[in-house]
Amino acid sequence: MMREAAPRSRIIGSLRFRLVMGIVLILAVGGVAVAVAALAYGRSAAQQSFDRLLIGAANQIAGSLTLRSGEVIVDIPVSAFELLSLAPRDRVVYGVFGDDGALITGYQTIPVPTGNEVFYNGIFAEEPARFVRVTRQFAERSFLGSVEVIIGQTTEARRELAQQITRNALIAVAAVGVIMSGLAVLAVQSALRPLGRIERDFAARSSKDLTPVDVDVPREISSLVLALNRFIERIDRQLNVMRTLIADASHQLRTPIAALRAQAELASEETNPDRQLRIVGRIHERSKNLSRLTDQLLNHALIIHRADTVDLEALDLRTIATEAVAQIDQSMSDGEEIVRLDLPEASVMCEGDALSLVEACKNLINNAANHGKAPIIVFVRRAGLRARIGVRDHGRGIPEAMWADAGSRFTRNAGVSAKSAGLGLAIVHAVARAHGGRMDIERPSEAAFEVSIDLPGISEGAV
């Protein structure tokens, strides 16, 4: 029921999908780059290897040239053509040209380059072919000039070698790509595993389990878990406040209300007007107590709630003390007690929630007024980096044995006294904790009793 009503978080793609796509993209771009490089490399490697064979054969033929009575004699070594036969399927064409450009031997149809290039491309027998030209100079009495040897070969073997080199390179690249993809998938899975652990932790929880998430997570998502845990803690605290309020209310209010009803029934049955009037007086007295108790219960819940929800701000404790005293003075319209202030000259700054602090201070004053003896002094002090606000009276205060438990609810008498629900110090304690401070109870002298809140202060300069 709750689940259906809960707003679903918007899903903006999958983390795993994004990672995988990123890796695939990197691999694809890399693969294409390597493929292009492999193609170029394959071509140039094949070109170079076969060009060497070609020029080797041409040099052998050029080396075989001799002169006999002014005539160039070409005695082609068979090894030159055997060299060319290393490209097993390629056609061979050759020509030896004299100084005048006339064919000495070979193919008349061989293409001759126009420029000075050593290697050039052409066509032979309707197939693309690669040609090399080697020039041999003769400086003899009978023959002065140069003889050109041109050899061409079709390019089938070159293309095949280039394809083979490229293909092998691509196979290697593909294999590496597949392996890398596999490793990447493992890496992604391993990286995302902590998220799964958190998910399982939540899935396995009972609906009442609001303990912090306790799983091993890497640094990158520890802050997420930390935030989550703070969030859970806040919910837990607020639920506790609610529970406490309900429990306290049901426990603490039942008895006084029952008593009140009993008195009221008594009053309705009483015929004697004087006694009836006394009973009404008691009813009034009990109603006042009940009202105070309700106030305190609600205040306690409110303050604990505020501690989680309200941002702390820099404030001066002297202002808090003054405000608390002013509010007390108002409520005690009859002016039966006189509360005095003991404030330093300089401001005492700390971070806090003014409302909670004023409420806590009022509670202390009320306690002092109800249980202690005048004069009641509200004081603010500064000790180094600590700030302190408290109330001193001159009564006996709480017995020392109970100091340790003073911050808990209803310890004093596990019920409702005539004048207080016993929540006063619990509220003070809660406020002190919510501000990162503590509640101190002291007896500075025989005739004095002091309850104060010790808070981390901030230096004035920092404000």
Binding site: D75, I76, P88, D90, G106
Partner: protein, 361 residues
């Protein structure tokens, strides 16, 4: 008589070189009314090749085969002209001048053909899927055992040189070999010999010194051995020699021990063949088991293993000695004008031209 035979051979060659290239003989096989007719040109003698063609036409149904027997140079010239001018051409050319066949393929005059049979060929018998080696014919030494005792008979080139060395050797003037100027095949064998070993130099020197006879044509040479005019013939095509040995028990064929060149007649489909599929089918047949059996029966594949003919003296170590001439562009070197002129000049220098030369018209 020998002089006459030689001059006749040379004269024939000289006439053929100047005249329009023409087939030496023509014969047809298969049904006369067949729709498809293919033209096969070859250098193989008709009577030798006939059984092979007959077996092919029997298995291939409605195909008529016209077989033209050509001289190797004429066949090359005709094929080359057909290729260049785009004229009507044969559907299959099978020549013993494998260098010329390789040149035709190199110059783009052959159509490729691929089949299970051609891919199964070793690299030396298949160039570019255009030229295929179909036969196995060793270049052999032939002698007449009625005139030469087996113990005396040469088993290698070294033996032959030794036989010719003595001044009073009875082999002087009675050893015959191809005239490499007249015979394309003889030139190719001699050229291959020159690549194989330095023995060749000593051999032609011995030939020159002893007045060996250089003449044309396998049949002339083998006839001479049979008749006793020649005692020994060198570098004769084994297929022809063995065919003759089947008729004449005196003929003994020696595959030389030092090395034996093995020729594989090269078949190619001309680029402009009208029926290249049937040309290819004939190639596949020649390479198939049935075709090989037919070629073996015709002595065109010379058995060098267990089933070798009794007249054939095999080398001691056939695996090393038998050397196929590979179909490769290296064969083009021998066809180079300068190279050929140089080689023939070198041959001529040590092996002076026969007196028969003077009788040329």
């Amino acid at each position: 008589m020998s002089r006459a035979a030689i001059s006749l051979g040379l004269a024939t060659f000289a006439t053929a070189a100047f005249a329009e290239p023409m087939p030496e003989a023509v014969k047809s096989y298969g049904p006369a009314e067949a729709e498809t007719s293919v033209l096969v040109r070859g250098t193989t003698d008709i009577e030798l090749f006939e059984p092979v063609l007959l077996e092919f036409t029997e298995g291939s149904g409605d195909v008529r085969i016209v077989y033209e027997q050509w001289g190797s140079n004429d066949l090359y010239l005709a094929s080359e002209t057909d290729c260049r001018t785009g004229g009507a051409t044969a559907d299959l050319v099978i020549s013993s001048s494998i260098d010329q066949q390789v040149k035709l393929a190199n110059d783009g005059c052959a159509a490729p053909h691929r089949s299970d049979e051609t891919t199964a060929l070793p690299a030396v018998s298949n160039w570019r899927d255009e030229v295929f080696g179909t036969t196995l014919e060793p270049a052999v030494i032939v002698y007449n055992k009625a005139l030469v005792a087996d113990a005396e008979a040469p088993r290698s080139r070294f033996d032959l040189i030794d036989l010719l060395r003595p001044e009073d050797s009875r082999f002087r003037g009675r050893v015959a070999t191809y005239d490499i100027e007249a015979s394309g095949l003889g030139y190719m064998f001699a050229f291959a010999d020159a690549q194989q070993a330095t023995t060749f130099g000593s051999l032609i020197e011995a030939f020159g010194r002893s007045g060996a006879v250089a003449t044309c044509c396998s049949s002339t040479i083998i006839d001479g051995v049979a008749s006793g005019e020649f005692l020994i013939a060198y570098n004769v095509l084994g297929s022809y020699a063995l065919a003759r040995a089947q008729e004449n028990a005196d003929i003994v064929v020696v595959a030389p021990n030092d090395y034996t060149l093995v020729l594989s007649r090269a078949a190619l489909i001309p680029k402009r063949a009208a029926e290249p599929e049937i040309g290819g089918a004939l190639i596949d047949f020649l390479l198939s088991d049935a075709g090989r059996a037919a070629l073996r029966a015709a002595n065109l594949i010379v058995e060098t293993g267990g089933g070798a003919q009794p007249a054939l003296r095999l080398p001691e170590n056939p695996d090393i000695s038998l050397r196929p001439i590979p179909l490769s562009p290296a064969l083009l070197v021998g066809l180079d004008q300068h190279k050929r002129a140089e080689f023939i000049a070198r041959w001529r220098a040590t092996f002076p031209k026969d007196v028969g030369d003077a009788e040329l018209p």
